[in-house]
């Protein structure tokens, strides 16, 4: 009886699933448009909190023509293919450039606008041509057309480094604070942004382009119906001059063109390295190196901090207490961001203690954070040692060092081992947070691979690697615990 009801539930569930996947967006009355809200003027959150932008206005007009309600859904731009594939969103209309990869993973309309990938630098920078970029540090938005174009361009071989950041504003900030010498950005977006923020005298855009491409609208693969309807609407908007009005509103000129007239001299053929293995290994090795350095440095540091907190003078005790509370009371992610991006802006000391190297900054942040946690664990261990043990040391004439090294540390070690193990396992997983300051590591590279191949299998591999690493750490600690016989 019970079994039967479970079976029928399962059946309903399966029916629901299959229904969902055959029900294409064009049949629905509401269309969900995915957008990266950090992409002005195509799509962004305006000061009053509403989504706005050229593509937003365009999408509204397109779907009004189709008698659909539009809902705008902010998404992680890296995951746009998956979002579309899973049906979370129906359409991407947000400065999406046409590339061969995207043609494989999504269904694209004909172009409605042309854009270039250009290099932006500080106004006073000595860089004026692409060849001046030799040995320079360049940043790009992660997963963006600019990123792919730059790697494809021959100049990339002569660069000192390419760093991927979350969005264009971050890229410009890095250029502004001279962490990077230049950034590769969408010309349309960059020009709009510079104009709006009155940053014209801070930055300049090089004349030579890295690549050019066409903006298109994407729908889920197979949904020809919706695609055709959108193209139809775009042509209509071109005919009735609505599109031109929108364009003028945002760019002070009409750069929209009628998709049917798009005569594509195939846009620069941007293609990514298909062999994803090196990318995977590169991420894995960064993760591993980070983990090893952090664990080796933060354990002894944590112990010293703990001793300072227990035996130090009042000032030391108070400052350590404050430090530990800050480290434990704020997110590690925030600490990472602060140490890399925030330190240079701290008055007076900012110029001296800022980090130029991302990996170094991240490592320092991790060590500081984990040392604080370890210090608290050690403190618990120290307090758990019976006072009589210390008195025995005293009456037997031990020096302080001898007491610490022969009696206290071994006993503390035994007590703290399980908690240290726990924290170490957490560190294995926390390492992925370093992606936030533009360092590639196992998880972010896996995500890149997944997004460029639209195949989630690498996630499973990455998950397995994390799992095995945690298992291994736990196993080592168990061995340690067993080896302590007292």
């Amino acid at each position: 009886m019970k079994c039967k009801s479970i079976k029928s539930l399962l059946l309903i569930f399966l029916m629901f699933l299959s229904f969902n996947s055959v029900c294409f967006a064009s049949d629905k009355t509401e269309i969900v448009v995915g957008l990266d809200v950090n992409l002005p003027p195509m799509g962004f959150i305006d000061p009053s909190g509403n989504v706005a932008g050229f593509d937003i206005d365009l999408a509204k007009e397109v779907f009004r023509g189709m008698n659909k309600n539009v809902k705008f859904q902010p998404i992680d731009w890296d995951s746009k293919e998956l979002e579309l594939d899973s049906g979370n969103i129906d359409v991407i209309c947000n400065g999406l450039s046409k590339t061969p990869e995207r043609e494989k993973t999504m269904l694209l309309t004909k172009p409605y606008m042309k854009n270039k990938q250009v290099v932006i630098t500080k106004k006073d920078s000595p860089i004026n041509t692409l060849s001046d970029l030799e040995n320079k540090n360049i940043c790009v938005q992660k997963g963006s057309t600019g990123s792919q174009a730059l790697r494809k361009h021959e100049i990339s071989k002569n660069l000192n480094s390419i760093v991927e950041l979350e969005n264009m504003v971050e890229c410009l900030n890095e250029v502004d604070s001279k962490i990077s010498d230049g950034a590769v950005v969408d010309e349309i977006i960059a020009r709009y942004y510079l104009k709006k923020e009155s940053l014209h005298n801070k930055f300049k855009i090089l004349n030579e382009e890295i690549s050019s491409e066409y903006y298109v609208i994407a729908v889920k693969k197979g949904n020809e119906n919706l695609k055709n309807k959108i193209e139809e609407q775009l042509n209509l908007l071109s005919d009735n001059k609505k599109a031109a009005q929108i364009s003028e509103k945002w760019f002070s000129e009409n750069i929209f063109f009628r998709p049917e007239e798009a005569n594509i001299e195939n846009a620069d053929n941007i293609s990514q390295n298909k062999n994803v293995f090196p990318l995977f290994i590169n991420g894995l090795s960064n993760t591993l190196v980070l983990f090893i350095i952090v664990i080796i440095a933060s354990l002894p540091l944590g112990f010293l901090i703990c001793l300072g907190r227990i035996y130090g003078c009042k000032f030391i005790k108070l400052s350590i207490g404050l430090y530990i509370n800050i480290m434990r009371g704020t997110p590690l992610l925030l600490q990472l961001l602060f140490i890399f991006y925030g330190l240079p802006y701290v008055p007076f000391i900012g110029n001296y203690i800022s980090f130029k190297d991302r990996f170094l900054a991240g490592t320092v942040a991790f060590i500081l954070n984990y040392a604080a946690y370890f210090a608290e664990i050690f403190r618990g261990g120290v307090l758990s040692v019976d006072k009589g043990q210390i008195e025995a040391c005293k009456v037997l004439g031990f020096s302080k060092i001898q007491a610490l090294y022969k009696i206290l540390i071994p006993q503390i070690f035994k007590v703290v081992l399980p908690s240290i193990c726990n924290e170490t396992v957490t560190l294995v997983k926390d390492t992925s947070l370093i992606y936030s300051i533009g360092v590639v590591e196992l998880l972010s590279n896996t995500k890149n691979i997944v997004n460029s191949t639209a195949n989630v299998f690498p996630y499973i591999i990455a998950g397995l690697i994390y799992f095995l690493a945690c298992y291994f750490v736990t196993w080592i600690f168990r061995k340690f615990e067993k080896s302590i016989s007292f």
Binding site: K394, V395, Q402
Partner: protein, 229 residues
């Protein structure tokens, strides 16, 4: 010669006076018992002698050298030197949990780095035999019986050859037979010219071993008639 001479010792905890103007002296080879009801300050007195508590006023002189004189302590280095004359056997033994019996006995001497491995081994082996710990050398404290812990603690206290031995409730954890055994050990040590001070609850035990019995009451010592001798 006096091995310990205490004059006008006063000890307070917070505002509360525990020991008030105590005078006390002992000679080598003498066994002195301190009795008195719980919480009167017997342990506190021993801990003052061993340098584990700081006294508020008075003097403590050990084998002719002042640990404290008129409430003022000797410099740290000198203190350590003076206190090396004293061995302390704790009520709950305080054996080092992370060391075996043999390591517990050896570690104080090993720290001094004054004798070779063979010498060290010979000395600890002698004590292990003397205190009937043979076969238990490599046991950790958690695997010892109460009596074995007691004897290991005494052996450890003796390795540095102190002249004075302080025992805090050495028999409280022991049965009659083991109490008898400890009595013998203590008497034998006195014959070897150790000065011995024992804090105990057991009047019978005190009477059996002591030359002098002191009762701690009203924050001071009163000599008790030894009815057995």
């Amino acid at each position: 010669m006096k091995s310990i001479q205490v004059t006008d010792l006063t000890k307070k905890f917070g505002g509360e006076t525990i020991l008030n103007n105590i005078n006390f002296s002992s000679r080598p080879g003498e066994i002195i018992s301190i009795i008195g009801s719980s919480g009167k300050g017997k342990s506190t007195f021993l801990r003052c002698l061993a340098g584990l508590e700081t006294i508020d006023s008075g003097s403590i002189e050990i084998r002719g050298k002042f640990l404290v004189r008129g409430g003022i302590y000797a410099p740290k280095k000198e203190q350590a030197d003076i206190l090396s004359n004293i061995g302390f056997v704790f009520q709950n033994f305080n054996l080092f949990n992370n060391l075996t019996v043999k390591e517990n006995i050896e570690v104080p001497l090993k720290n001094k780095k004054i004798c070779s491995k063979e010498e060290l081994n010979a000395k600890s082996q002698h004590l292990i035999d003397k205190f009937k710990l043979t076969g238990r050398e490599n046991f950790y404290p958690k695997n010892l019986s109460g009596g074995q812990k007691q004897r290991a603690a005494i052996a450890r206290a003796l390795i540095l050859k102190p002249k004075i031995l302080l025992f805090d409730e050495p028999t409280s954890a022991l049965d009659k037979e083991l109490t008898e055994e400890i009595s013998q050990i203590i008497k034998k040590l006195a014959e070897e010219n150790y000065t011995i001070i024992v804090v105990t609850h057991q009047m019978e035990f005190a009477a059996k071993i002591s030359d002098v019995i002191l009762r701690l009451k009203n924050k001071n010592f009163y000599e008790e008639k030894n009815s057995i001798i």
